[in-house]
Symmetry: C2
Subunit: 306 residues, 2 copies
Amino acid sequence: MPGMGIVERKSRQKQALRERILDAARRIVMREGFAALSMRKIADAIEYSPATLYLHFASRDEIAQALCAEGYAQLLATFVPLAQIADPAERLKALGRAYVAFGVAHPETYRLIFMEDPSYTGAALGGAAGAARKGVDGALAAVVDAGAGAANETAEATVAGTAAAGTTASGKVNLAPAKPDDDPGDAALHIMLRALEELKAAGRLSASMDVAVWAEAFWATLHGIVALNLTCPVFPSAPLDTVVGVALDTWLGTQPAGQPQGAAKSTRAGKKKSAEAPAQSHSEAHAESPAETGVKPATKPKAASA
Amino acid sequence: MPGMGIVERKSRQKQALRERILDAARRIVMREGFAALSMRKIADAIEYSPATLYLHFASRDEIAQALCAEGYAQLLATFVPLAQIADPAERLKALGRAYVAFGVAHPETYRLIFMEDPSYTGAALGGAAGAARKGVDGALAAVVDAGAGAANETAEATVAGTAAAGTTASGKVNLAPAKPDDDPGDAALHIMLRALEELKAAGRLSASMDVAVWAEAFWATLHGIVALNLTCPVFPSAPLDTVVGVALDTWLGTQPAGQPQGAAKSTRAGKKKSAEAPAQSHSEAHAESPAETGVKPATKPKAASA
DNA sequence: GTCTATAAAGAGATAGAC
DNA sequence: GTCTATCTCTTTATAGAC
C-alpha cells in the first residue's frame, strides 16, 4: 500500500497527461478543423499510442466535449471585465463586440462549440462548470453576483438622470435570482439580462419587451454575424466592424435614424465609418492562442492520393 | 451512326439517372444528415453500382454542391410571391419569416447550404444558376425585373403618403441595375435591397444608412436565429415566432416604445417555455418535402457496434 | 499504465471486363 | 453504360502482452 504522496503524484501525472491530450487536440482542431481530429493524430502528437487515450477519455466525443467546455469558458472569461461597464447599453455593445471578436479570432473553436453538433453545444453550455471551475468560473460568478448590487448602483448613478427611471429598478431586479452555481453556462445570459433590466429601468427599452426574448434575438444576431463570417465566402461585403456596428446600434436604439427612438446622438457626421474601419484587426481580442485564423480547416479530406 | 432521336433519348436517360442520383442523395441528407452521405449509400438507394455514379458526378463534393444549388433555388422560390407585397417593411418581414420557416422546415438542407463548408455556400449562391435554370430562376428573374418598375409603383401608391417621399424614389432606384443574369444567386439580395431603398425613400429608414450593410446585418440576424435553432439545444426558450417577431420589429423600426406591437404578448406568466410554447411547430411552412424534421441527423456515427 | 497488434467497419475512387 | 472487383486509406476501439 503506497503512501498518500505517491497516490497524489500519480493523480497529478494522470491529470497532466489528460491536459496534454486536450492541448494536442485543441491544436489539431485549430489548425485542421474539427473534422480532422482523430485519436491517432492526437496520439501521434503526444507520442503515445492510441490505446492510451482511452484510459483518459472514453471516446473521441468526450474529448470534443471537453474542448467545447474549455472554449466556452474562455469566451466567458472575455466577458468578465466587460460586466463592469457602467452604462448598460455600452456594456451590451462591448459584450457583443467581444463575442464577435472571439468567434473571428478562434473560428474552429467557435465552430465546434456553436455550429457543429447540438450535443457539443450542450456540453459547452451545461458542462462548462467542469472546465470553467479551473479558475474562470469563480471570477465570473463573483462578477455576476457583484453586478446585482454594486454595478447596478453605479449604473443608476450614471444613467438614471436620463429618463424617468428608478421606480421599477429596485423592486424587479430580483426577478433573476442569479444563482451562480445553478447553471454556470448561463452566466453570460445573466450578465445580458441584468444589463437589459437596467436599460428598461432607464426607459431606454420598451417596458413591454420581454428581456429574455430580446436577449435571445440579440444573441442570434451576433451568432449570425460570426457564423456567416466563418461559412459564407461573400459575407460580409462591408467591413465586419461596420456590420457589427449597425447591428448593435439597431438593437440598442442608438442608430442615427431619421428619428431616434430611445436616446441617441441625433445624427452622425459622415455616412458610415467608411474611412477608418480597421475591419478584421481586432487587436483588442485575445492573444492567448497561436493565431487560429488563416488556414482553411478543410471539413473535407479533399485530394490526397492521385 | 444513330439517328438524332436516339441521341436525344440517351441524353434524356442520362439526365433521368442524374436526377435519380440527386433525389436519393437528397433523401439521405434529409434523413441522416450530410455526414452520412456516401457514394455507396446513394448507389444502394438507386440500385446501381458505386462506379456508375462517377459517370455523372466527378466526386461526392460535386453531388453535394448540386444539392446546395437545388436547395438554394428552392429557398429563392419561396421568396417569389413575397416580392409582390406592396409595403416594403411588410415585404421584408414576410421574407424574413419565410427564410426562417425554410430553415426550420428543411434543417439538413439549410445546414448543407449555409452551415457546412464555405465551398458549398459558394456553390449555392454562385452556382444556383445551373440548378435554378430548371424553372425557378426564370420566374424569379422576371419578378426581380418587374419589381424595378411595377412593384415600385404599387408600393408608392400604398406607402408614399406616409412620409415625405417620392423625391428621391424615382431618381435613385436604378442605383441597383439588377442584371438578373449576372449573378442569379444575388437575386434574393436584390429583392431586399430594393425594399430597403423604398423604405429609405419613404423616410422609414435613416437616410445615412448603407442599405448593403443593413441587408447583411439583417440576413445575419435571420441566419443566427435559424442556425441557433438547429444547433443550440436551449434555443429558443421562448417560442420561435416570438423571437422572430422581436427581431423583425427591431430591424424595421416597428417596435412599440411603450406599446406592444404585432406579436409578443407583453408579459408572460411563467419563466420559460414551461407552459405553452409550441416552439418548433411552424405549420405555416412548406409542406413540399417529406418532413425533414424530427430525426436527429447525427453528424457523428455514434454507437453502432458494441 | 502503456504498448503492439489488430479487429471491424467504412470511405472515395478506379481498372478493366462486358 | 454498367458492373465486378479491388486498391488505398482512414477511422474508432479493443485484446492481451509486458
